[in-house]
């Protein structure tokens, strides 16, 4: 996921705020670094639940941070990247945020309406 993230941001961006979701702390740190080098503001969280909290979608009354892009690992314990995608797309506040899902597994068998118009692309991780 970390190598793929570097390719996404090769052209750099204008202070995009990217939320990276990965249960591996090492991967999360690498992605954060890649994003910062590409002049993005980066926040790494270690689970879908934390991501929802950060976005203000956990039911607690607080304003979500302004996030322009979400990059998430697919297979994570607890909430998978797919389940996170669903929650984001079901939320009127956040559904317009592009979501990139990264996976080394073949997950194309699960394409459904949540994926349609949501994913930018699936990147092969390893």
């Amino acid at each position: 996921m970390a190598v793929a993230a570097g390719e996404v941001f090769a052209s750099g961006s204008q202070e995009l705020h990217v939320l990276a979701v990965d249960d591996s702390n090492a991967d999360g740190k690498i992605i954060e670094r890649l994003l910062k080098i590409s002049s993005c503001k980066a926040t790494a969280v270690e689970s879908g639940i934390r991501a929802l909290q950060f976005l203000g979608l956990d039911g607690e009354k607080h304003s979500g941070y302004n996030v322009n892009l979400i990059m998430t690992d697919y297979s994570m314990p607890g909430m998978t990247g797919y389940e996170l995608l669903k929650k984001i797309k079901e939320s009127s506040a956040c559904r317009q945020i592009p979501v990139v899902i990264m996976s080394s597994e073949n997950i194309l068998t699960r394409i459904d309406r949540y994926f349609f118009n949501s994913i930018i692309f699936l990147l092969h991780r390893v």
Partner: protein, 153 residues
């Protein structure tokens, strides 16, 4: 040879052997390229996080495989998959390769095979940790002695 040259020599030899013996691959090189004056401890930090992840995942695998009754191979496989991903990301090639084999034993629900792989993962993780700690120590010593870290092709 003065101290700095000796240390630099050791550093080059040690780095070369890390690659030659397959402990790390090109992804580790890429990681080092992400380090600069703005993020001078980046590699050490990422590697430290990786070793923390390793320990946690190895413990998960051990616990799952210890079950006397039914081993939950899906759970073991989930941890191995995670470790495979993390080790790829930092370029820990030998650890990654054991994970590849490990997953086939999980799929085959082969407890003995899994236990053997768990032992191997543990061994490779310990070896790598040792070697990288030596590498980082040499770097610190070189800098402390006023030298610069040599680039290794």
């Amino acid at each position: 040879m003065d101290t700095v040259s000796q240390l630099q020599r050791q550093f080059v030899d040690h780095t070369t052997s890390l690659y030659r013996e397959g402990f790390v691959d090109d992804q580790f090189t890429q990681l080092q390229k992400l380090q600069d004056e703005n993020s001078p401890d980046f590699v050490v930090e990422v590697v430290t996080l990786f070793f923390d992840d390793c320990e946690k995942l190895i413990n998960n695998m051990a616990r799952a495989l210890e079950q006397q009754q039914e081993v939950d191979f899906k759970q073991v496989d989930a941890s191995v998959h995670q470790l495979k991903g993390s080790s790829s990301s930092i370029g820990a090639m030998r650890v990654k390769n054991v994970c590849v084999t490990f997953r086939t034993f999980c799929e085959a629900q082969n407890r003995e095979g899994c236990l053997r792989c768990l032992q191997q993962v543990n061994r490779e993780y310990s070896l790598l940790k040792n070697k990288l700690q030596t590498l980082f120590r040499l770097e610190q010593q070189i800098v402390a002695a006023g030298g610069t870290i040599p680039a290794v092709e």
